[in-house]
């Protein structure tokens, strides 16, 4: 490339300063609630990722303490031990890994499948769109819990079965929302312009449709992670999902019920952790919606 071309190339490289992503970040940055939520979520992710480095896994699954049912604040066990003598803090930290695995993977899969279904429906319209939406309607009629029970009954108990169940139950909401955005985008003049330039439908979907769906996907995705973590814990509470002794917040809650009278911390600790995590992720999701929402339309 000659010198002129190099200069030109420098000009066209996307200015990160001005992209919509940067603007959203700037808006998030200035809101205290958003930053608190973001920090909390990052902390949670950190816990999940580095669980092994923080506390050995053994402490979560085997009896490590001399006594069982030690309350929080006891020596060497910050949050106490449970009825099997396992360290509760360890179970919480390793449980976060389970929770996030369940929440994130199922939300991600849900989103991925929904987006493909929604875009296909929106672009092709007609019978295809109708068919997809009717199937989605059927799924949305069945409560998520029932879907989960059915799948676990059919495929057995385990974390992957849970993830499949949660993916399914998240499909209707996403598909409908992404589809309505996709419909709106597909009617915009810039899509018509691409057609007028001779572009094919596949190109238009990838080049024009998908990038304009990122905001709704991020907003929905964050919300769905929170929902799925709760759902996963709920299912764990009723005994579906992970097998003992794998630490999971929902099962911890369930077994804690037996000790509610004398050792309230057995219920309080996992309960609070669940509530706070869901709150943090939800708040982050709301903040993201606000940050994406005043879409600057470029008024001079």
């Amino acid at each position: 490339m000659d010198a002129e071309a190099i200069a030109l190339n420098a000009k066209i490289r996307k200015s990160r300063r001005n992209s919509q992503g940067m603007e959203v970040w700037n808006r998030l940055r200035t809101r205290p609630t958003a930053m608190v939520a973001l920090t909390g979520v990052i902390f949670l992710v950190f816990l999940a990722l580095f669980a092994d480095l923080l506390i050995p896994y053994e402490m979560a699954i085997k009896q490590v303490a001399a006594d069982k049912l030690m309350p929080p604040g006891s020596a060497g066990h910050l949050l106490g031990t449970d009825n099997f003598g396992r360290d509760i803090l360890a179970r919480i930290i390793h449980g976060s890994r389970t929770a996030l695995e369940i929440g994130v993977i199922s939300a991600g899969l849900s989103l991925f499948i929904s987006t493909i279904l929604a875009c296909t429906g929106a672009m092709l319209g007609g019978m295809v769109d109708n068919l997809i939406m009717r199937v989605i309607d059927v799924i949305s009629c069945i409560p998520g819990m029932v879907i989960a029970l059915a799948i676990c009954a059919a495929l057995g108990n385990g974390i992957w079965q849970l993830i499949v169940a949660l993916t399914f139950s998240g499909l209707p909401m996403h598909t409908k929302m992404v589809r309505s955005v996709a419909l709106r985008v597909s009617k915009m003049d810039f899509v018509e312009s691409a057609v007028a330039l001779g572009a094919k439908p596949g190109y238009i979907m990838v080049r024009h449709l998908f990038p304009n769906l990122t905001s709704i996907m991020i907003i929905n995705g964050t919300a769905q992670v929170s929902i799925n973590i709760m759902m996963g814990a709920t299912l764990g509470f009723i005994g579906l999902g992970v097998k003992a002794p794998t630490p999971e917040w929902g099962t911890m809650l369930a077994s804690g019920l037996n000790f509610m009278m004398r050792n309230q911390y057995m219920v309080l600790v996992p309960g609070l952790v669940l509530a706070i995590s869901a709150l943090l992720i939800n708040t982050l999701g709301d903040a993201m919606r606000d940050a994406f929402d005043p879409q600057l339309k470029g008024k001079a």
Binding site: I12, N18, D189, S193, H208, N212, G298, A300
Partner: protein, 320 residues
């Protein structure tokens, strides 16, 4: 003088099926545009002018009639050949906000046609071409990596023009390109379009509802009402001697910005536009026409030449 016919429409019709019946958006429109000329298509909402523009470009399938572009009948051209044709006929949209993908930079938007048709295989060639196009439309090259939402309406519209010019088309449909812009910017863009027409020998269809704008840029003007042709003649003639009652009403409704307008009571047309769905027989304008007769409600007036080069569809001029 070049007498090639760039575009010809013959009895073009575009109907839409709605639950309430057939919507006659474009109903039997025929005209010719010579190379290098501009046809202004004027009318109010619901007259079918935007639909006409899109049907001509084959963005909408026509219901009946023929579209002949540069001597070639493109009415039913198969998709593959149509794609090649797109290089020669382009469109500039009305809304500078929705006609540009908010996720693409200015460079990417103007480069897109070059990529789709692979006209400039190497990136360097594309970069240089985009730079040239930006210069032609008066956009500083420092805007290459900005996003549309950072720019104002006038600059965004220039991007649209640059994109339309990228493939060196001969024919451009301009769908109300200045209606959404401020007055002082309108003038800039109109001047730009007139200059480009001169420099590149372009042929335009200029769609607008604003008669004062169309006067400056058009050689000929076609007035539409509810999908039908109402009057067609040269731009000068239309303003000097409008024939059809609708054209006259349209002209008198425009408030003129000088002291002669003060307190003037325009001859205001009564009523509202009737529905284009399953239109009743007779002249579509009859319900609002101050000069309507019984015949006007029963028969549709033909569109014919009242004087050389001046067409009109009104019984008052029909001496047949």
């Amino acid at each position: 003088m070049n007498e090639t016919v760039m575009l010809e429409c013959v009895n073009l019709k575009k109907y839409f099926d709605t639950p309430r019946g057939s919507l006659h958006a474009v109903d039997d429109v025929s005209f010719r545009i010579l190379e290098g000329k501009t046809l202004g298509v004027v009318g109010e909402s619901g007259c079918g002018k935007s639909t006409l523009g899109r049907t001509i470009l084959r963005l909408l399938p026509s219901t009946d009639g023929k579209i002949i572009f540069n001597g070639r009948d493109i009415t039913n051209l198969p998709a593959r050949e149509l794609s090649a044709l797109r290089k020669q006929m382009q469109i500039i949209f009305q809304d500078p906000f929705s006609s540009l993908d908010p996720k693409m930079t200015v460079y990417q938007i103007i480069e897109e046609p070059l990529r789709i048709h692979k006209t400039h295989p190497s990136k360097v060639e594309r970069m240089k071409q985009v730079e040239k196009l930006m210069e032609i439309v008066g956009l500083d090259s420092r805007y290459m990596n900005t996003y549309p939402h950072e720019l104002d309406g006038g600059r965004r519209q220039r991007i649209g023009v640059a994109r339309a010019l990228a493939l060196n088309p001969k024919f451009i449909v301009c769908d109300e390109p200045v209606s959404a812009l401020d007055v002082s910017i309108q003038a800039q863009i109109l001047n730009l379009m007139m200059d480009l027409k001169e420099e590149f020998g372009l042929t335009y269809i200029f769609i607008t509802h604003d008669l004062s704008v169309v006067k400056h840029i058009s050689d000929d003007i076609l007035v539409l009402y509810l999908g039908q042709m109402v009057e067609l003649c040269s731009s000068e003639r239309l303003f000097e001697n409008p024939l059809h009652p609708y054209t006259k009403a349209l002209l008198s409704a425009i408030p003129v910005p000088d002291l002669s307008s003060k307190g003037k009571e325009a001859d205001v047309m009564q009523g509202e536009v009737t529905s284009p769905i399953e239109p009743p027989p007779g002249c579509r304008f009859a319900a609002r026409c101050p000069e309507a007769t019984d015949r006007c409600f029963q028969e549709s007036p033909p569109f014919f030449e009242v004087e050389p080069g001046h067409f009109c569809s009104c019984f008052h001029f029909c001496h047949a």
